[in-house]
Subunit: 414 residues, 2 copies
């Protein structure tokens, strides 16, 4: 069970709260516009108070209330529809009260489109370091017990990497913070279990996450003014019977959207199986988000299972190391630092109508990255975002046309 | 005389070359549009094959063929007219041949406006470190002898910080490299003397720089096709009689433009006096550039002496440390890291019509810089560039209106 410094919750008094039977999400809607007859792939429109997006879509990560290296203008130029910010980072610095005072995350970041925040739990449970790398997902690299101090029925007690103070993230506090941040789509708090926990722990954790879901719903209802919509999270690890229970739980509660969370297993095959288990059980009228997964291959795999939205830091993170995503490359991407690009006059991808993709030579980008020029990271990051947005546009069109297999071969030749 | 590892040139055979009597600069022109009756301040238009700029103007530094953190699009949005690249950095990495192969610096950098390159000499003479800070000017911090190996009549021998190879920058090579880079406005090679050299050294160095000027002119003429225009550089240190000789030299040669170079003294007052000496002697029909000087106060001081163009890395360099230039602040700038900006909802300067200046709160910029987010440096850099461009627009208008004193009080209140 990992680190001994994290005391396991046991024999704790369970906190039961009566959740609302129903919630009105008037400013929001999710409509399925096309369903593929041969898979669970579908297209839809997801309406929020800050605009309507088509699904499947990709949510880009503005971890600390900023997409690394890219302004909202640059994100829009790359045809981005929706972004997210990580509650954990923002609550620690600059803090939710300050963001609320400035007018909420939309105004703070100057992003006027749809926005999501997570609950803040993931980073607490999965990172656990005294200091924090800028962006961390990577579910297998779990090191509990350094910043996470204690998980109780009440919430997760942890130490701020910013100033060393102690904080207790409860379901109620997570919702309160996300209300202050003001994103359109927000999340219940859940416990993110590690891959190697046993079934007994997974089951008890799942039950607690359900109680946390009910507390999140109750807190959400208390101040609900129609400006936000709440997502619930399916738990249950790799165990089908637990996923069954957890899907029934989220299906039954008045969440606007659903997300596949908890451990997705230790391999790509297991991840596919776990998501598949969930998607067979989740009600079909709600948008489903897949947390933190978003390579090009993943998008093709999981839209076929019915996933509507993805998020992943990788498009902007890999750009900082010179990796550019390009349609039609077997490995999805090339490394511009490679010597073969030193004198390559061709652009990254003339099919994409932004200067970063269409106008700059690979030779110039190679030079910028080799020289440590921040402009290089900026241009490749924007190119990667634009590439993913082109991918999602083409995926939506292919679902409607029934040509997803063909499109996958174009993007990922064998 | 500083480091002993740099062997002084002495008893070397002088290399005399017959420079051209005249050169045609058909694609270029410099026209004075207004001359202030009470000072030597003037406005003008400087025409190049890549566009015409109004003067006085400010040339932003793209040291390694990139303005730090800012794309050409962002520079244009900030109303930038002209940029420069440093020949020294570009010749070392990626190299002039590669840039020429890609189509020249304009195409390489995707900047379609007027561009300047320096001779490459300044960095060799003034930096002299085995490794190189990203951008270095700061004329008083001269440490000769680490990368500079030897100055001879032929040229300056030095060691590449990039790969340790030995290079000999001669006047002919500097012109050849700048021809390959293809900027509109280029420079003769000169020896940049340090502040503390004696008059005898300064005089001999000046004479050699004049011979280097003639060799630069001859090499320039050999391949002159009308696409570039050559600037000569006034030497002579702080010595009026030497400045007299050097001004006569550059006035007499067919340079398109002139620049005040060499040691400008050890204090602000001395710098003012040295520039003043030169500006009293330089012919008035050519554009005059002041190398590497460009605080807001400098702009006001030196446009009154007749300077037409400035360059300095500081607007983009200080942005990386959180310093924002703002019109009307006594010290020219504020540091966004200051705790007083933590919850400041106001933008940096609503008078400037770009998001970086007008839309983002200081609180957000404070958060970005405190969190190490590159977007913060990017936004402040663009704001600083836009501020300087607003300064130059207002300076040009004030010269025409005779209101320069009043404008200076608005920008720099006591």
């Amino acid at each position: 069970m990992g680190s001994s410094s994290v005391r396991r919750k046991k024999k704790q008094q369970e906190i039961h709260v009566t959740p609302p039977q129903s919630l009105s999400y008037d400013g929001f809607s999710f409509d399925i516009t096309h369903a593929d007859p041969h898979s669970r792939a579908r297209t839809g429109t997801l309406k929020t108070p800050h605009g309507t997006i088509e699904t499947p879509n990709y949510i880009f990560c503005g971890t600390k209330a900023s997409i690394k290296n890219l302004s909202p203008h640059a994100m829009r130029q790359a045809q981005t529809d929706i972004i997210l910010a990580n509650t954990y980072h923002v609550m620690i610095q600059p803090g939710a009260d300050l963001v609320e005072k400035i007018g909420g995350l939309h105004k703070f970041m100057q992003w006027d489109g749809p926005m999501m925040t997570d609950s803040g739990g993931f980073q607490i449970f999965s990172m656990g370091h005294g200091s924090v790398a800028d962006e961390i997902k990577g579910r297998n690299k779990i090191d509990r017990g350094k910043s996470l101090l204690k998980v109780t029925e009440e919430g997760a007690r942890f130490k701020s990497y910013w100033n060393g103070t102690y904080l207790n993230l409860t379901p109620e506090l997570s919702i309160e913070i996300q209300r202050k941040l003001g994103a359109d789509l927000i999340y219940q708090l859940d416990e993110c279990t590690a891959y190697h926990v046993d079934k007994d722990y997974t089951a008890r954790s799942m039950e607690m996450s359900h109680r946390w879901g009910d507390r999140s719903l109750a807190e959400f209802e208390r101040h609900h003014d129609g400006s936000q919509a709440l997502y619930g999270i399916v738990q249950g690890g790799v165990y089908e019977d637990l996923r069954d229970i957890s899907c029934a739980y989220v299906n039954d509660r008045p969440f606007f959207g659903l997300a596949v969370g908890g451990s997705l297993g230790g391999s790509e095959e297991e991840m596919f199986d776990v998501v598949n288990m969930c998607m067979q059980r989740l009600r079909e009228d709600r948008p489903v988000h897949l947390l933190g997964i978003g390579r090009i291959k993943d998008v093709f795999d999981f839209v076929r299972l019915g996933i509507d939205t993805f998020d992943c830091v990788s498009p902007t993170r890999i750009a900082r190391h010179g990796w550019a995503l390009v349609k039609g490359l077997p490995g999805e991407r090339l490394n511009i630092r490679n010597a073969c690009f030193r004198d390559d006059p061709e652009p990254l991808d003339p099919r994409i109508d932004i200067p970063a993709s269409r106008d700059y030579s690979k030779a110039y980008l190679h030079h910028l990255i080799k020289s440590g020029e921040m402009l290089g990271m900026q241009l490749i990051a924007q190119h990667n975002v634009a590439t993913i947005n082109m991918l999602m546009r083409e995926v939506r069109a292919a679902i409607k046309d029934g040509t997803l297999d063909q499109l996958q071969k174009e993007w990922l030749p064998e």
